[in-house]
Structure formats: structure tokens, C-alpha cells
């Protein structure tokens, strides 16, 4: 298929949001603060995603996130060196690239320069069973290598309970709520700090406020032309994943909301005019976030993504069950049918003309369902879908020419369909 020609109408590409630029500084400050806190004697917890970090912030623990660090390393182009370090120690190249990257960092120490001065040394590890078994094994392995304690929180697998179509399973909510409560004695033992309910509730209030602001942003992104694309959101998810329960997340999201609303009010889109809209499924290729701008020249925009979306904010009035409900509603903990329903809901609400699904070759639970989502979207929603084979952090699996050929083909199909 020949490469589709860019449109000849006048194109205005809007630069990234100011909030997104500010997010870059926020990330740098996050790592700087973590190192300083460690130097001051605070305890550092290496946390998997969906650990109840509101509780950690309320107990003066410094949470850092190996998964985010791996994405940061990928963006800074050092993930491959770190993966290779892990592989040279005997870890299979089939394993999750986030895991290989961070284990490589642990093994390499300062011998391979990592961004942000690396992760501050862990005092202990916290991980939940959400989304994948890999994460638990990865954290277990890091605890084994470093000899540091680890606490694992069980999150029941959510089956089909996502997206508000089915009520969350009340037994599972209770189950995970008890797991969060059971984390408190572990944290008290590790830090010597006592649990303070008032501080915890304040952290939950901030978490809820930030989350509600974010959901307003999601609503505004439905506007045509789209005021905020996935390229921005994959950066701006940082405070919403890793700063829940802090004033910084609230402030960030408030600024983001103001800016997005301003674009909506002025009719400014990511591309102007906007000819077609796309949805992104799965984790991005962190070493090439520029790919989100690829459709600019065709006047297309990736307007929504299925990753990192959580529909239910925490309820501070019911702290433990409230946190459990929030985490259980995370699509990553659910089935193909849940993901398919979410994809369909987004496809309809955001009026997309096609979808790009990332087949990240080392992300087991998510890649296993991508072909299923592809079939579902093609058959049930009737939109063209392209599956891009690569990896979220290991750039060795990325072929620019192949990826762009496939994206070009998608553009052709969408254009033909729209007439």
C-alpha cells in the first residue's frame, strides 16, 4: 500500500499542554525529593502500581515506583542497557521489560547511569496482585536480591465487574479492604511511625478531589476537536498514578482542567481541522512518545486511551472499602470482556474512527487479550484497528518502518471509509 499523502488543507498543530510541560518538572522534583527524603532518614518503599499510596503519604513513607522508573529509563534511552544487564545475569529476555530494566538497575548500581540519579535504595517493597503475576514475582525477586522485606496485598481478580455495568463484587471489596488495613501494622513496624487516621482521611480527600478533577478532564476530551490527546495524557498520568493523596496532584489536575477547558471554549483541538479521531489501547512505547504526533500531518488525533483510566474515585467517608472499590474498578484487574466493553464505551463516547492497539511483547496479561480486543472492535463496533507489535520499554523490539507502514495503512482505511 502506498504511503497516504498528508492533507493539503491548512494544518495547525497545537503544542503540548503547558500542564504537560509542568509535569516533566514535577517528575524531576519527585525523584529529587525522594533522594533528599532518603538522605534525611525517611523510609523508602518501592511500590507496585495500585498500592494504597494515600496511606503511605499519610505515614511519611516515601513511595517510589519501579514501573514508572522503567518508563523513565525507556524515555531516556537507557532501558535497553539495563535490560541487557539483567539478561547477562541470566534473566530471560522473555520477561517483562519493566522488570528486566529495574532488576538491571539493581544489579548494575551506579555502573550504568540511570535517570534522576536512579531509584533511592529501597527499605522495603510493597506490591499488589493486580493485573499480573509478573509484578509479584518481580518484586519478590528484588526482595530476594536485596534482602529487604516485602509485603504483598491481595487484590481479587475482578472478572467482569468493570465499567459500572455490574456492581463491584462486595466480597472482593471487603477482602481487599482488609488487606489494606493489614498493611498498617507492617508500615508501623518498618517505619516506627504510628498510623494517624486524621492524616489518612485528609490524604483520601485529596485523592478524591484530584480524581474528580481528572474525570472532568476525561469528559472534556470528548469534545470535537479534541483538546487533549493521548500524548499529553501518557505524561500527565504521573500525578494521577503516583501522587494520589497529595496537594501536588490536586494542583496539577486543577491547572490541567483549566487549560483543557480553555481549549474547549476556544474550539482549539490537538490538530485543526480535525479529520479523524483514534483510540490507543494498551501501554505506549515509552521510548517513542513522539509516535502520538504521527497522525498530525493527516489531521488525525489519538484522542483517548484505555490505559490508566480508573472510573471510581476513593470515598474518604469509607476509607478502606473506598480504596478497595477504587482499585477493583481498575480495568487492568479485569477480563477481556471488561476491556472490550471499556474500549467500546470509549469508542462510542469519544467518537473514534479507528483504534491503535499496542502489542507489547513482554507484557503478558495485556498482550494476551489484544487480538481479542481487536476482533471485538472490528466486529462489534465496526471500526478499523491496527495492532502494533513492539514493547513498552525494550526498544530492541521496535521497528519504526513497520510501525509506520501499519499506521499509514490504517489512515488509508479510515479515509476510504469516511469518504
Amino acid at each position: 500500500m502506498a504511503t497516504p499523502m498528508p492533507v493539503t488543507t491548512q494544518l495547525t498543530r497545537v503544542k503540548a499542554l503547558e500542564a504537560t510541560r509542568a509535569c516533566g518538572k514535577l517528575i524531576k522534583k519527585f525523584y529529587q525529593d525522594a533522594h533528599e527524603g532518603k538522605a534525611q532518614g525517611k523510609k523508602v518503599a518501592w511500590c507496585g502500581v495500585r498500592v494504597p499510596i494515600e496511606l503511605l503519604y499519610a505515614m511519611d513513607v516515601i513511595p517510589v515506583f519501579p514501573e514508572h522508573f522503567a518508563t523513565y529509563c525507556a524515555a531516556k534511552k537507557v532501558a535497553v542497557s539495563l535490560c541487557e544487564r539483567a539478561e547477562s545475569a541470566g534473566y530471560s529476555s522473555d520477561l517483562c521489560s519493566y522488570a528486566r530494566c529495574v532488576i538491571g538497575h539493581v544489579l548494575a548500581g551506579e555502573s550504568i547511569e540511570a535517570p534522576a540519579g536512579g531509584l533511592p535504595t529501597a527499605d522495603f517493597f510493597l506490591v499488589t496482585t493486580t493485573t499480573c503475576d509478573t509484578r509479584v514475582k518481580w518484586f519478590e525477586e528484588m526482595a530476594r536480591i536485596t534482602g529487604k522485606p516485602i509485603h504483598v496485598l491481595e487484590l481479587p481478580y475482578g472478572r467482569d465487574t468493570f465499567a459500572g455495568e455490574d456492581p463491584l463484587d462486595s466480597y472482593y471489596v471487603e477482602y481487599h479492604a482488609r488487606e489494606i488495613e493489614n498493611l498498617i501494622p507492617f508500615l508501623e513496624q518498618q517505619t516506627g511511625n504510628r498510623f494517624n487516621e486524621k492524616r489518612f482521611k485528609e490524604a483520601l480527600r485529596l485523592s478524591q478531589e484530584a480524581h474528580q478533577l481528572l474525570l472532568e478532564v476525561y469528559e472534556l476530551r470528548k469534545t470535537v476537536p479534541c483538546p487533549m490527546g493521548s500524548g499529553d495524557m501518557f505524561t500527565d498520568m504521573f500525578p494521577n498514578m503516583y501522587l494520589c493523596g497529595t496537594q501536588a496532584a490536586v494542583d496539577f489536575n486543577r491547572q490541567l482542567l483549566v487549560e483543557v477547558k480553555s481549549r474547549v471554549d476556544s474550539g482549539t483541538g490537538v490538530v485543526n481541522p480535525e479529520k479523524f479521531r483514534l483510540m490507543w489501547g494498551n501501554l505506549p512505547f515509552w521510548y517513542n512518545l513522539g509516535l502520538f504526533n504521527y497522525f498530525d500531518v493527516f489531521n488525525g488525533a489519538i484522542v483517548i486511551e484505555t490505559s490508566y483510566y480508573i472510573p471510581i474515585p476513593v470515598d474518604p467517608n469509607d476509607p478502606f472499602r473506598g480504596m478497595a472499590r477504587k482499585v477493583l474498578s481498575n480495568p487492568g484487574n479485569c477480563s477481556l470482556s471488561s476491556f472490550s466493553r471499556l474500549s467500546k464505551k470509549f469508542a462510542m463516547e469519544y467518537k473514534v474512527d479507528g483504534a491503535v492497539l499496542a502489542y507489547n511483547r513482554s507484557c503478558r496479561p495485556l498482550y494476551a487479550i489484544q487480538m481479542g480486543i481487536q476482533r471485538f472492535l472490528e466486529e462489534e463496533v465496526g471500526i478499523p484497528v491496527v495492532l502494533l507489535e513492539s514493547d513498552m520499554a525494550d526498544e530492541r523490539n521496535y521497528s519504526d518502518a513497520q510501525v509506520k507502514t501499519r499506521l499509514d495503512a490504517l489512515v488509508e482505511v479510515i479515509r476510504a471509509k469516511k469518504g
Binding site: 496482585t129 503475576d133 514475582k137 504483598v152 466480597y171 503478558r364
Partner: protein, 381 residues
Amino acid sequence: MSDHNTFLEMRQIYLNRHAWTSQQKSLNKIPRVGFICRLTPVELILASRAIPVELFGERKQPLSAGAYMESNVCPFARNILDDALIGRYGYLDAVIVPHSCDVVTKIIDFWKAYVQTPPVYQIWIPHVVSDHAVAGLKQELYRMAEWFTRTLGLDISSQSLRTAIQVINTSRRLLRQLHRGCQEGKVQGSEFLAAALSRGIIAPEQWNQMVAGIVETLNDGKMGTSAVRLLLSAAAMEDFQVIDTVEKLGGSVVLHEYCDGYRSCRADILEEGDPWLQVASHYVRETLCPRFYQPGLRLELVREMVSTTSVDGAIAYALANCDCYQFEEMALTETLEGLGIPTISLHTNYEAQQNEQMFTRLEAFFEIVQGGSKTWQRQCQ
């Protein structure tokens, strides 16, 4: 040696399991409930008066699954889905899929969407080994029983569950005796595997009768000798390729540390007290699958196995793209080599060309092992 004919019969039943099960069902009309993975509490299936049938991957190029799952998905799970898509499980009345690992968990989605019949049920299994997890799994067992009644019209009572526990415990004890026979050189590794795999196909009472007959003759058998005695550590060990190759090279697998092997029979379910609680406790605490969070316990089992039975080497066999086992492989290899046991890692994606590669690698490994563990230790340093 042992009763070769019964072992051969069990091997044939396993290899022809689809035709054999269909035929058996046409004779006795008893419902068949499929299950994937030994994490499934088969006692509940038996308590419902259905016969549990284990689903295995098969070393072959998938015909249909490629349209749903790409080639780097776990070959075991992918090939089970393939068999379902091409209609090989027409004899099943239901399928139980435990939340055992990331990919097996996703099979149910594809089954529901594209295979559709028979009905499929997913049971959540906690990862963290604790009293809380036992209570959680007990709750899941009640839900599964409700589903059996609602969907299949099969009731499970506490009394029928107690009876089923006794039957499956008998199977466990018999398989343990065969494992002891392997260690003593009275049962070949491939014979043990035939028994272990057919245990998932043949009705438990029938299998118990067959194996009880073998066990009775074990003490009369002569002790076999083998140049190289090996531990085989794996997840799913669903075909004979590895063990047959070992035997062709003159060796013998005497310790079987894999899902359907010793790990599935090493501990009985307690027969006293609340049967629901005992089943839950057993599957959470005794399965020792790497998908659980229980640092070091599986390695302790391996240490215990090699401390009571001498081996010359070990094979760590893993499915490609299986994170749980591949992460633990590092610690497993370190543990075994720390004990002076040479260890080889083999990974499979079910491709036929791997058979020759495996033969060559095992042949080289045998040379190292037969050269003596001291040589190996020097190489490791």
C-alpha cells in the same frame, strides 16, 4: 521392574485422551467437567458426581488459536484454546478455569467469546498464602458449588465433598508410592509420567484401582540401575519428550517436581473437620506453585527432595513466556548448584525443531554430569 502393561495402557489413554474419554462417556453417560491446571479443586467436581478431566496443551502447531492469540503467548494455554476451537472438547459438560496465572486466566475470555459451549466457570485463587486467603478461597468454593447447581443441576454437599476428598487422597497416596518407586529404581520416569498424566483423564476410582494393582507388585520388582539420575523441575509437563530423551540417553528422572508430578500428591487434604475449609487450606498452602507468594517454600521442597534422594543433575524445564517459573528459575538454579547439583535450563515453545536441540543439549549435559560434579563445580566458579 514394574507392571509395564498398565503403564503402557495409561500412556495410550493419555495420548488418545479425546477419543478415549468420548468413548467412556458414551458408555456410562456420566458428566465430564474439564479443568485447567492442578490449582483447580477437583474434589468439588468429583463431589458433584461428575468426572474431572484435565485439559493439557499438546506439542503441535495450533490450527485456529493463532487468530486469537499470537505466537508468543504461553504455548500450553494457547494449545488448549486451539483444541477447544477445533472442537476437541465436545465431550465436556463444563470447564473450570482457576485464576492460576495471567494467560490461563485469559483463556476463559476467549472460550466464552468464541468457543461458547460448554459453559465455563472461573474460580479466583488468592496468591498470598495466609488465613485470610484460606477464608477467601473457601468463599470461592461455595460460589463454585452454587454455579454447579445453577448451571449444571449438580449438587455438592459437605458429605459428598468428604467422600471425594477421600478418593482423591487415595490417588495422591498411590502417586506418592509410584514416586517412591522411581527413587528406588522400580518405576521408570516415563512410567511415572504416564500415571501422573492419565490421573487427569481416567475417573479417579478407576485410576486408583489400576495404580493399586501396580503398587502391589512394586515390592516384587528388581531394582533398576541408571547411569544418570535426575531431578525434573517444571510447570506443566504435558508430554513425554524430555523424559523419553533422558531415558534414550541412558538416564532416568527419579524426582518429578512439576504440577502433575510430586507437587500434586505430596500432601493429602485433611479428612477431619469442615471439608470446605480443608480443601481451601490445602490448595492455598500446599500447592507450592510459583504463582503463589510464598518465598522460598518451593525451593525448600526441592532441597528436601534432593536431600533424601541422591541425584546427579537437574533439569529446570519451563514453558516459553512463563514469567512465574522463569523468575524462580534463577533462585532454583542457584539453590541446586549451591548443593553441587549440575542444572540445565530448557525452555519450550512447542516447536517441533526444538526436539533435536533438546537432544543435543541433554547429550552435552550428560557428558558434563558423567564427568563428575567436581568438574561442574569448577565450571560454575
